[in-house]
């Protein structure tokens, strides 16, 4: 079904300094995927697994520019000579980012989109949509605005929209990155359905626990090469220590640690009677009492819609109309003052990088109380702490995702705010980078910061959390 023969691919792009460079995608890779097989591609970020998915749907070499050698054949088509459009009837693709994979604004149109492009008669498309909606139990998601869906629902619609035109091959590139545990469960059900229907499924993924039960094979890539092939049977008998030894995320699900009863300290961060509800929506929070220890890492966990993000916004003073009191360090912080108490590092750090150099970005956050002459020295000192000094003059948007995140963190550290709040800092990160973020969070804690982490990543929670707070619809 899919055959890669001695394939190498190098992307052409520019580095942070503006020089033209070639980045290795994959290097002399040979692999075959038989019809009906369920194959998982694993490995570090940049190991080449995304490139393999792009070779299958034709985005490499037809959309992403670069040098290709070797032969790739998919369903008997030579990928090099046939266009993306020729492969479209055979290959369905699901991507990582739910914000950028829908062409339409309503779900039904999106489900029909691929089939419409392939000139399927309208009646047949309608019939297929009904069938897929039934198979995936998503009748309640039809005719909805895509912008009103949760991340998990969006990813379900993304899966359904490729399923309607019934391609033989499904490729998924890190489909679980933005999902919570319940969303991942839904995704796993869809994948099981496809496997049962005899589709060929190729998934590139960091989170592996939800795939171990389904996989026929796990292919471990490193530096663009295939280093290990683990058959499904063997995979299911392996434990998490063996995953760690390979630099992979856990093979089996990790349970969320039990929340501990908070000890009564005097100078903790205490929220009392926090109450906020959005207009025209039933979303909101109601927190009678919450105690977060000072100088520790506290993980805030809970399902989507439990109010974690709303709590973060209230704590940072973004929702001025919120009621209730926040006390920290022996004084009360009003909504207006809270931007000086708590700094949030957003999930998509691209939203909070404004200037044209890393140094300027950090300078922007230096408090006004710091005298003019010392501002730059302070900014440089913080950059040094976060190993960013060599990048001081570079445009933030030219950096890698991890570096951008560190710049955003530097912007928070330099404010001198005692509380730092992270919204999903490890979504879409591999094991190595997750560990790096964990180390960074611990360092911030050891420097005396009170660190709050909103996350679905149980592995991260296990790794770093001193305390765990569970949000649920009932308690908030």
């Amino acid at each position: 079904m899919i055959k890669l023969q001695n394939v190498s691919f190098h992307y052409k792009n520019t580095d942070a300094f503006g020089k033209l460079q070639k980045t290795r995608g994959i290097d002399d890779l040979t692999l075959t995927v038989e019809k009906g097989a369920f194959v998982v591609l694993a490995g570090d970020s940049g190991c080449g697994k995304t490139t393999v998915t792009r070779l299958i749907n034709g985005l490499v070499p037809h959309y992403y520019d670069g040098e290709l050698s070797g032969t790739v054949s998919v369903c008997g088509l030579d990928v090099r000579s046939s266009g993306i459009g020729d492969l479209a009837p055979h290959v369905g693709s699901v991507f990582q980012n739910p914000r950028s994979q829908f062409f339409n604004v309503d779900t039904t149109s999106e489900l029909a989109f691929a089939s419409e492009n392939l000139c399927t008669p309208p009646d047949e498309i309608r019939k297929n949509i009904r069938r897929v909606a039934q198979e995936m139990h998503m009748d309640e998601l039809m005719d909805r605005s895509i912008f009103a869906l949760s991340g998990g629902e969006k990813q379900k619609v993304a899966c359904a929209s490729v399923a309607v035109s019934e391609p033989e091959i499904m490729v998924l590139d890190e489909p679980s990155s933005n999902l919570d545990a319940a969303g991942i469960e839904e995704l796993a059900r869809v994948l099981a359905l496809w496997k049962a229907k005899g589709k060929t499924v190729v998934v590139a993924e960091h989170r592996l626990y939800y795939l171990t039960g389904l996989a026929d094979r796990l292919l471990l890539l490193r530096d663009g090469k295939l280093v290990e092939e683990i058959p499904g049977e063997q995979l299911r008998s392996m434990d998490n220590a063996q995953a760690e030894a390979r630099g992979l995320r856990s093979f089996t699900p990790i349970a969320m640690p039990e929340p501990e009863a908070p000890s009564a300290e005097k100078d903790a961060l205490v929220c009392e009677g926090l109450d906020f509800h959005y207009k025209h929506s039933d979303k909101g929070i109601h927190i009678p009492y919450l105690h977060i220890p000072r100088g520790k890492i506290t993980a805030i966990v809970g399902k989507n819609g439990a109010g974690k993000s709303t709590f973060a916004r209230v704590l940072c003073g973004l929702e001025k109309k919120a009621k209730g009191t926040v006390r920290f360090g022996g004084r009360e912080w009003k909504s207006k003052q809270r931007p000086d108490l708590c700094y949030m590092i957003m999930q998509d750090v691209n939203h909070q990088l404004f200037t044209d150099s890393v140094l300027e970005e950090v300078m922007l956050s230096v408090p006004e109380t710091v005298p003019e002459g010392e501002r730059e020295a302070l900014a440089r000192q913080v950059l040094d702490q976060l190993d960013l000094l060599p990048l001081a003059d570079i445009h933030p948007m030219a950096l890698s995702g991890g570096q951008k995140q560190r710049v955003a963190i530097a912007g928070g550290v330099v404010t001198g705010n005692p509380v730092l709040l992270f919204d999903e800092p490890t979504s879409g990160l591999d094991y190595k980078h997750m560990r790096q973020v964990a180390a960074l969070l611990r360092k911030l804690r050891d420097d005396g910061k009170t660190v709050l982490v909103i996350t679905h990543d149980t592995e991260l929670v296990r790794e770093i959390a001193d305390c765990v707070v569970v949000f649920s619809k009932e308690t908030t």
Binding site: F95, C119, P339
Partner: protein, 241 residues
């Protein structure tokens, strides 16, 4: 923002997008070009009633109510207040009511159009009117991007507010504010646009064949009735009057 998607989820539009376009033009011509006497007045009332009825049909009762009340106030003002007042007060009423009452109905109808038509219906209708792909596909992508832009700029403004105090100080100023908002917005929309094109291509957007459409775009009895009515109005406005 809920434009170009069904505001009331699950509800289907009753009018063809082409009828809506024609009505939009005719309503504006009538409202801007007529007075308050005889046939003119009758036409005005009919045109003003069209959005009201349509809002009720798509079950936007609150919008309909608000629109109806404002409309009544306008008509009352223009027909009763203006002839019976004098001097500065009269001038004030004329200046405030005049332009507003002339765009109100057209604006209400445009609003109805946007919340009762999906992008795919609109594109299909354009196709039926033989608008070339080079125009209809970029237009549909543009519509698709409005809500995305709104979402992104909301997130960016939040991020700015997190640093708000700092922005108002030394680094402040309107130009800086704009730069801080526009640069990340451009970056993230560029990235989303790039990923969106990739995703659309894998779904065969440029497969080169004419697309089929599942959405229901057909001129029904109601459409023809409204088209006839519109043509009648146009005939009156351009010839009889």
């Amino acid at each position: 923002m809920q434009f170009f998607q069904y505001g009331n989820e699950g509800y289907k539009s009753v009018l063809d997008p082409r009828t809506k376009l024609l009505l939009l033009i005719v309503i504006n011509v009538v409202i801007i070009g007529t007075g308050f006497t005889g046939t003119d007045f009758l036409l005005r009332i009919v045109c003003a009633a069209i959005p009201l009825i349509l809002f009720l049909i798509i079950r936007r009762t609150r919008t309909a109510l608000l629109y109806g009340l404002v409309c009544l106030a306008m008509f009352f003002g223009e027909a009763v207040l203006i002839p019976h007042t004098r001097g500065v007060l009269n001038l004030l009423i004329v200046i405030t009511l005049g332009p507003f009452s002339r765009i109100l109905v057209g604006y209400a109808f445009a609003y109805y159009m946007m919340c009762s038509t999906t992008v795919s219906e609109f594109v299909t209708a354009m196709k039926r009117m033989h608008v070339p792909d080079q125009i209809s596909i970029p237009l549909s992508v543009m519509f698709r991007f409005f809500p995305t832009l709104a979402e992104e700029s909301r997130a960016i403004r939040d991020a700015m507010r997190l640093r708000g105090i700092r922005l108002r100080g030394k680094n402040g100023g309107v130009m800086k504010q704009i730069e801080y908002e526009v640069v990340p917005l451009m970056m993230s929309t560029l990235r989303i646009g790039d990923e969106l094109s990739a995703a659309s291509l894998t779904k065969g957007l440029n497969a080169g064949k004419p697309r089929t459409h599942i959405c229901h775009v057909k001129m029904e009895l109601w459409d023809w009735a409204l088209v006839l009515l519109s043509l009648g109005f146009l005939f009156y406005m351009l010839v009889l009057r």
